[in-house]
Amino acid sequence: MSVFWLTLAVFLIALLGTFAGYRRAFSVVAGDVRKLHSLPKYYGSFVGFTVLIPSLLMLILWLVVPPLEQVSTQFRMFLVLGLAVLLMVLAISRITPDFRARNAVELVVLGLLIAAASLAILTTIGIVLSMLFETRNFFGLYSWKDFFFGLKWAPNFRGDSELSILPLLWGTIYISLIALLVSVPIGLFAAIYLSEYAGPKTRGVAKPLLEILAGIPTIVYGLFALLTVGPLLLRTFGSGGLLGVDWMTGATAVLTAGLVMGIMLIPFVSSLSDDIINAVPQAMRDGSLGLGATKSETIRQVVIPAALPGIIGAILLAASRAIGETMIVVLGAGALAKFSLDPLEAMTTITTRIVSQLTGDGDFASPETLVAFALGLTLFVLTLGLNVIALYIVRTYREQYE
């Protein structure tokens, strides 16, 4: 019996048990429901849960624990189905008028709720463990000093790859920096205008429109970088271009990816800053205006300084988004790992190298593939650190005015 049919059979037995428990509850009190502790349906669900949960757990155990895989599926079928039927009989026999079925069922449901909430923790543990394990393997094959402090990224299949994170980190930071240079001024000024100057009508139109930019999938931005912005920059800065200079040789460049990522982050910065500026108490504005300051002076000298911690938090969140962004840099940034200050050159980032190292045909024992896990872990720690700091700043800031 395949796993699918076995699962189905367990569910069927549980359903049968539910119905039998429901009937049994009626029959133990000869139809007088008032004598039962709980409603009849709780007796039914009690039987159902008693059958379902242990049987399914056993099935999952069977699939996960490797030594059990050798045991014949025939035996597995008998064991699981036998357990289900046994539990059904046991559960039905426990039904008496005094049995507190509702309490039992609610306890089980609470357990399920807790299990669901723990899944978030499990995901994090899964992320950390899966990467940690492979990273340890990687550092067994490759010196961690060279990884963190080497200066060259040059993977090859001859076995003398140089896999240092520093050039990738530089590319990542450089591109993120350009993205922030684009998105922070535009996003911040947009937020200031929307929250301080714009009437409800303008706000009602402009804010959702700007937020469309946030809902567009990153693959679209990637394509926009590769096929539109890149060629546009090339036609401006490339040889025979509009400016008559020859600074750019290919469409993929730091500036290409940075500009497009900046566009993507505009709504992110603006909606976060908007919330934060709105949280500044009106009394502070009124005080400043009452002393004769103009609106812009109030904003510059009162509102913004008051909102500054929150805005810095928002910028940090945007920076963490930029560092972890993948599709735009995969399509728009190029593949050259180097230290350079020229924004018109192709450069590569941590995320692009993760993709390229893991999508090749490499086997999972070579340092060239395993390095992706070390890169992933670094990226995870980096973004997590930024997020924790940013969320902390934003939270303390909020409390300040509550």
Binding site: A120, T123, T294, F373
Partner: protein
């Protein structure tokens, strides 16, 4: 000082003028920033639609093809096994013949060899012909009218992507062939039509951009979304109910809460690494399968769904809970019978937005092998829909963006239009749900 005192209140002094000018400047910066953002949006949409709408139009060639008996069924047995032995290669002469006939019929003269003439057709034309003959062996000997896809270069010529200058070093087409296209266009043998197979069809190999479609990858996305919906909604709602209604305030709950808000900001590619390490390398689930993609996207969307579900649970006033408890409901009953139904519209809205986010996500799919795979066959059963390798819409777009032939770029933009239509529909439904059912307490 005396200077300012002497001035009338009705005329502005230099300092006030300066301050007012600064005020105006500041305002203009704000408007400029919003204008820049909106201009980017417009530019992006114009680029998408300008480049992508072409994918929905395709060039077709209508030919009368003589299904010559001596080529297809030499012994006139109509034995299907024998007919199957003729490969697509054997059908090429028929296409050449059909092309020559058509030219003669329309009085078009050309110096091109018949092979070059037939090269105007898509490379899939022979296969299309063969499939037809295998399905209708009785038609051998007759002359049948076919509508073939034109070659991507011809299609590009009609869409102004290919010009006589741009094909100077192109091996696939030359200027004489374009002259022939012009003549055939005038004779209405070649025409542009709406291309349904772009929406419903399968991906095609590198050589045939004209035949590539989104249909199969849409199915892949559909099955992934089923997995996400079936897992993320119940788990997300259960987790939110626990955290919002039952969890005691202690450090464990705090950790879970901080954890969820941080998970929401973890780069999506990290979830891809998790999926690769756990689902594929440890659990040996099939690579490229929508099931695995769905599991990864579930983990990714869970925080989004939990955050929005908690917000809508929080918005149900405590009096509802107190009233239920007051008439003897248990805590669990008050939540499931009263709070949850009232929070349902908000939960649904959050779920739809989470699904939309998952639908457009690409990076984790790259790592679990949903690219580099040519989704040429639709899954033939529900189980294979979940378990057989497939692509997904954003992965398919990425795949096309990477190919060398610019004809695929048009496909990629067209694919984006389809993806955006889905996203806009989902978000509109979410907005309508919110407007229609939201209750302010």
């Amino acid at each position: 000082m005396s200077n300012t005192l002497n001035n009338s209140l009705l005329t502005l002094d230099a300092r006030t003028k300066k301050r007012n000018a600064a005020e105006t400047r500041f305002r203009v910066y704000g408007i400029a920033a919003i204008g820049a953002g909106l201009a980017m949006l417009i530019l992006l949409l114009l680029t998408i639609f300008g480049n992508g709408l072409g994918a929905f139009q395709q060039t077709f060639v209508t030919l009368n093809v003589p299904l010559l008996e001596e080529k297809l069924d030499k012994n006139s047995t109509r034995n299907l096994e024998k007919i199957k032995k003729v490969s697509t290669f054997g059908y090429a002469p028929l296409l050449k013949q059909a092309m020559e006939d058509t030219l003669a019929e329309n009085g078009i003269e050309t110096d091109l060899k018949s092979k070059k003439q037939a090269a105007l057709l898509s490379k899939s034309a022979a296969a299309q012909l063969r499939n037809y003959v295998l399905a209708n062996p009785d038609m051998i000997g007759a002359t049948v009218e076919f509508t073939f896809l034109a070659n991507a270069r011809v299609d590009g010529y009609l869409k102004d992507r290919v010009t006589r200058e741009s094909i100077a070093d192109d091996k696939n087409i030359n200027a004489a062939q374009l002259d022939l296209v012009d003549a055939l266009l005038a004779a209405e043998v070649i025409e542009q039509r709406f291309n349904l197979s772009f929406i419903t069809g399968a991906d095609a190999s590198d050589q045939r951009p004209e035949a590539a479609g989104m249909g199969v990858s849409m199915l892949g996305s559909f099955f992934m979304m089923l997995v996400v919906l079936a897992l993320a909604l119940p788990i997300g709602v259960a987790a939110s109910i626990y955290l919002e209604e039952f969890a005691p305030k202690n450090w464990i709950t705090d950790i879970i809460e901080v954890n969820i808000s941080n998970l929401a900001a973890v780069p999506s590619i990290v979830f891809g690494i998790l999926g690769l390490a756990v689902f594929i390398n440890s659990m040996h689930l099939p690579q490229s399968a929508p099931l695995v993609g769905g599991l990864v996207l579930t983990l990714m969307t869970l925080p989004t769904i939990i955050i929005s579900t908690r917000a809508s649970l929080k918005s149900v006033p405590p009096s509802i809970r107190d009233a239920a408890l007051g008439v003897g409901a248990s805590k669990m009953q008050s939540v499931f019978h009263h709070v949850l139904p009232l929070a349902a519209p908000g939960i649904l809205t959050g779920t739809i937005i989470g699904l939309a986010q998952a639908l457009g996500e690409t990076a984790p799919l790259l790592l679990i092998g949903m690219i580099g795979f040519i989704a040429s066959n639709a899954p033939d059963s529900v189980a294979s829909g979940f378990l057989d390798p497939n692509s997904a819409m954003p992965a398919q777009i990425y795949e096309w963006a990477k190919r060398a032939d610019p004809a695929f770029y048009e496909r990629a933009w067209g694919g984006i239009i389809i993806l955006l239509v889905f996203l806009i529909t989902m978000n509109t439904i979410a907005v309508i749900l919110r407007r229609r059912f939201e209750r302010r307490w």
